[in-house]
């Protein structure tokens, strides 16, 4: 396969702008939650698989483009209000950064772990988003609000999932971001600064998403909250993610 085609393929699956729009267009058009989840998990893995099985001399412009893609989507998340779109943009922003460890020839298993670290909380968010669509007809910030009072257990889980997605401690993405900064700070301090700025934008976007959903007066309409089974499911996955984060920190830092 010609190098240009491989680069194009990798740019679609490990998103590089403007190829990144393909993934977001597909995600936007899928209405089934489990299919969205599947897409979030498999998409970067396909990209990594292609990269690891190709023998391409990566052009010098690829890394700046990856950083640009990540920064662009980090900036664009700030004004997103639709939760699924939000998940897609955050995934694009994070996966773009995976080009850094790819260029540093990080082990394949670690690269797959990196990709899944972001996919897992976003998959949970996609399921929560489906829950919102089921209850309110749309998963949209600033539309109804007050979820903390209307469905408190749901809100609690939502908050922790968002906190996990925006690379907070002790979740794996936090340690990955820390590792990326450590790896770049001496030789390319500017890249480290851009990484930290992207990270800051994620926090900002996360806070806006949380505020747009949970803050406000309780709805007069009674809504069913998450049951014990669902709570246990989310708690177990988040706990596993946090333990995975601590384990990953021991491996990479």
């Amino acid at each position: 396969m010609p190098d240009a085609l491989i680069i194009l393929l990798c740019g679609i699956f490990l998103p590089l702008f403007p190829m990144s729009m393909v993934f977001n267009a597909i995600l936007d058009n899928i209405k089934l939650a489990w299919l969205r989840a599947l897409l979030l998990i498999t998409w970067p893995l396909i990209g990594l698989f292609v990269i690891l099985n190709s023998d391409v001399a990566w052009p010098g412009w690829l890394l700046p483009l990856a950083l640009f893609t990540s920064s662009l989507y980090a900036l664009r998340i700030l004004t997103l209000r639709e939760v699924n779109q939000w998940s897609g943009f955050l995934a694009t922003s994070f996966w773009g950064l995976l080009w850094l460890p790819v260029m540093q020839e990080t082990q394949a298993m670690l690269l797959f772990a990196y990709a899944l670290s972001m996919s897992v909380p976003l998959v949970l968010l996609v399921f929560l988003s489906a829950g919102l669509e089921q209850r309110f007809g749309a998963a949209y910030t600033g539309l109804y609000g007050g979820l903390a009072r209307t469905i408190p257990r749901f809100s609690g889980v939502l908050v922790i999932v968002v906190v996990a997605a925006i690379a907070s401690p002790l979740f794996p993405t936090f340690f990955i971001m820390l590792d990326l900064v450590v790896e770049t700070v001496v030789d390319t301090p500017l890249v480290a600064m851009v990484l930290l700025l992207i990270w800051l934008f994620w926090s900002w976007a996360g806070a806006r998403l949380i505020q747009g959903l949970i803050v406000g007066r309780a709805s007069d309409v009674k809504m069913t909250d998450l049951d014990t089974m669902a709570i246990s499911f989310y708690t177990l996955i988040l706990l596993a993610l946090a333990i995975g984060g601590v384990y990953l920190s021991g491996v990479i830092l």
């Binding site: 936007d28 664009r76 007050g146 009072r149 908050v159 401690p169 803050v215 406000g216 021991g250």
Partner: protein, 559 residues
């Protein structure tokens, strides 16, 4: 001993977990678990503090095979006790204060998590634990401030806090990454030992690494301790519950002072950075105090008062008086915590009876009626200038003979002198029958305060930095060229003395160019009442950034 150290750190976490699991079953009684855990942690921390006071060597505990290290040295043992003491009071206060909150259990979970994060922050013996705790303090504070999920305003300002804290995380993470890259370890003890052995072994972008790291740590401290230009979050975060305000103003906001102290072995080789820290602290102290005086909202006034105090704390670090900054944060924490927690009952009782005696202090301070009959102004001016200076010099000579060899000490004395003189000047203007009695009482109170301050700060110095050579090194690192220093001291002293003399003279002769002064004053007041337009500028910048983001999304069709 190791078990005790782990108990202090882990108990609040266990309490948070228990409350989360059982709050549904035990209802509001679950708060007792939180209080009990805090009491036990506090008692154990007191024991550990007494152990550290006994002169025992610092303990560093590595958790399993991880890079996590818990460090129990004088600084961490003292701060852990302070944090737990304040947290305990806040816990006790919250039991009834938060009783009508829907998310009562969740509040105590967050309070325990916050206590744990603060504890891990001060006992962190490695950079990763420090960064994690530092980061999490911001996250937990965001949710504590937004405890009332109905209030958009509370969340709006909680967000300001979060984003400022996250901005402050950036330099800390950069500093940690640089230190790790240079020394190939996360352990603070090893890094500090290597820095002390060879401070200029590494460089970064052509500068000594110690200076770069010190500058980054300073920036992180500025954001956390609300220094000028990074302060806007502090006065506005009053929509959170009162216990959270108390915890924030008494404990969390002091983290900047702690961080600079923790990195003292880096700062001791970064004199230029200390000078910048001094200037930033000074500007913050002046602006904070100025903004505090012009607020008509008492809570915002308290917020700006904290900003001013944080300015003083950071300024103390900037002159090399690191342990004094710790004493300051402790004293300010107790003082401000009391003010916040008693604010409600004071307002409540003041509604029934203001309780203010209509004495001479009242006529002077509230009714703004200064005395018309004056003592000879030259005599009073001489007393005003000489007495505080004499008190300060004698009290410090009692503590240490070489005190006046340090520039930092001179600066502190200078501030003490200005404050003392201001006190006597205010006394001079008061409406009173017996001016000499009042002056006598003022002088006596000044003697007590100065002596107490000098003795206690000296004790803190001996406890936190037992190595006299290191203490001297800290002060000399913060020093500037002696000639410049002396010239600066003389110029500032002359300006202040001239200002006082002019005021004395003007008061004595009732000489006022009223109209001209009033116009100038009004312009200045307008500027201060808009808080120098800093919040407005930030709001405008934020809106611009969001507008760019929105525009990009439209152009790219939301894909």
């Amino acid at each position: 001993m190791e078990q005790f150290i782990i108990v202090v750190a882990v108990l609040p976490l266990i309490s948070a977990l228990l409350i989360q699991l059982f709050s549904g079953r035990f209802g509001r009684g679950i708060a007792r678990v939180s209080v009990a855990a805090t009491v036990i942690s506090f008692l154990v921390s007191c024991f550990l503090l007494s152990w550290a006071l006994g002169g025992n060597d610092p303990q560093a505990i590595q958790i399993g095979n991880t890079s996590t290290i818990l460090l129990f040295d004088p600084l961490s043992s003292l701060l852990a006790t302070i944090i737990l003491g304040i947290s305990l009071i806040v816990h006790l206060y919250s039991i009834r204060y938060m009783a009508e909150e829907a998310a009562y259990g969740q509040f105590f979970v967050l309070l325990d998590l916050m206590t744990a994060a603060l504890l891990f922050m001060v006992i962190a013996g490695d950079l990763i634990t420090l960064i994690i705790a530092w980061y999490l303090v911001g996250v937990f504070l965001y949710f504590l401030l937004g405890q009332d999920t109905r209030s958009q305003t509370a969340y709006r300002f909680a967000f300001w806090t979060l984003i400022t804290y996250r901005i402050g995380d950036i330099p800390l993470i950069l500093a940690a990454a640089l230190l790790y890259s240079a020394y190939d370890t996360w352990s603070l003890t090893i890094i500090f030992d290597e820095i002390m052995a060879n401070p200029y072994a590494h460089e970064f972008i052509g500068l000594p690494l110690t200076e770069v790291v010190a500058a980054l740590i300073g920036l992180a401290a500025f954001a956390r301790s609300a220094q000028f230009l990074l302060h806007t979050w502090l006065p506005y975060t009053m929509d959170g519950p009162t216990p959270v305000s108390a915890l924030m103003h008494a404990g969390i906001v002091n983290a900047g002072g702690f961080l600079i102290n923790r990195f003292a072995p880096v700062f001791v080789h970064s004199g230029d950075v200390l000078n910048v820290i001094f200037i930033v602290g000074l500007i913050t102290a002046v602006f904070g105090s100025m903004l505090m005086l012009t607020q008509n909202d008492i809570k915002k006034a308290l917020g700006y008062s904290t900003m001013g105090q944080m300015g003083f704390m950071i300024m103390e670090c900037g002159i090399g008086a690191f342990s004094l900054a710790i004493y300051h944060l402790f004293a300010h924490g107790v003082f401000k915590g009391t003010m916040f927690l008693s604010a409600g009952s004071v307002i409540n009782s003041a509604r029934k009876d203001d309780g203010i005696p209509k004495d001479e202090l009242y006529t002077f301070a509230v009714e703004k009626r200064p005395n018309k009959e004056r003592q000879p102004w030259i005599l009073m001016a001489a007393i005003t200038l000489a007495v505080p200076l004499a008190i300060l010099i004698f009290s410090h000579l009692l503590i240490a003979q070489d005190y006046f060899q340090k520039q930092g000490a001179i600066i502190l004395l200078f501030f003490g002198w200005v404050t003392g003189a201001q006190l006597i000047f205010a006394t001079y203007r008061m409406r009173t029958q017996n001016i000499w009695r009042l002056v006598g009482l003022s002088v006596l109170s000044l003697v007590i305060v100065v002596l107490g301050y000098a003795v206690i700060s000296h004790a803190f110095d001996l406890f936190l930095y037992p190595d006299p050579a290191f203490r001297v090194q800290l002060y000399s690192a913060a020093s500037i060229d002696l000639l410049y220093f002396n010239v600066l001291v003389v110029i500032v002293a002359l300006i202040i003395v001239a200002g006082w003399l002019i005021t004395y003279y003007a008061e004595h002769n009732d000489y006022r160019r009223r109209q001209q002064r009033q116009r100038l004053w009004l312009n200045f007041y307008a500027l201060i009442s808009r808080e120098f337009y800093i919040s407005d500028i930030y709001t405008r910048l934020t809106r611009s950034l969001l507008s760019i983001s929105g525009q990009l999304n439209i152009w790219l069709r939301w894909l």
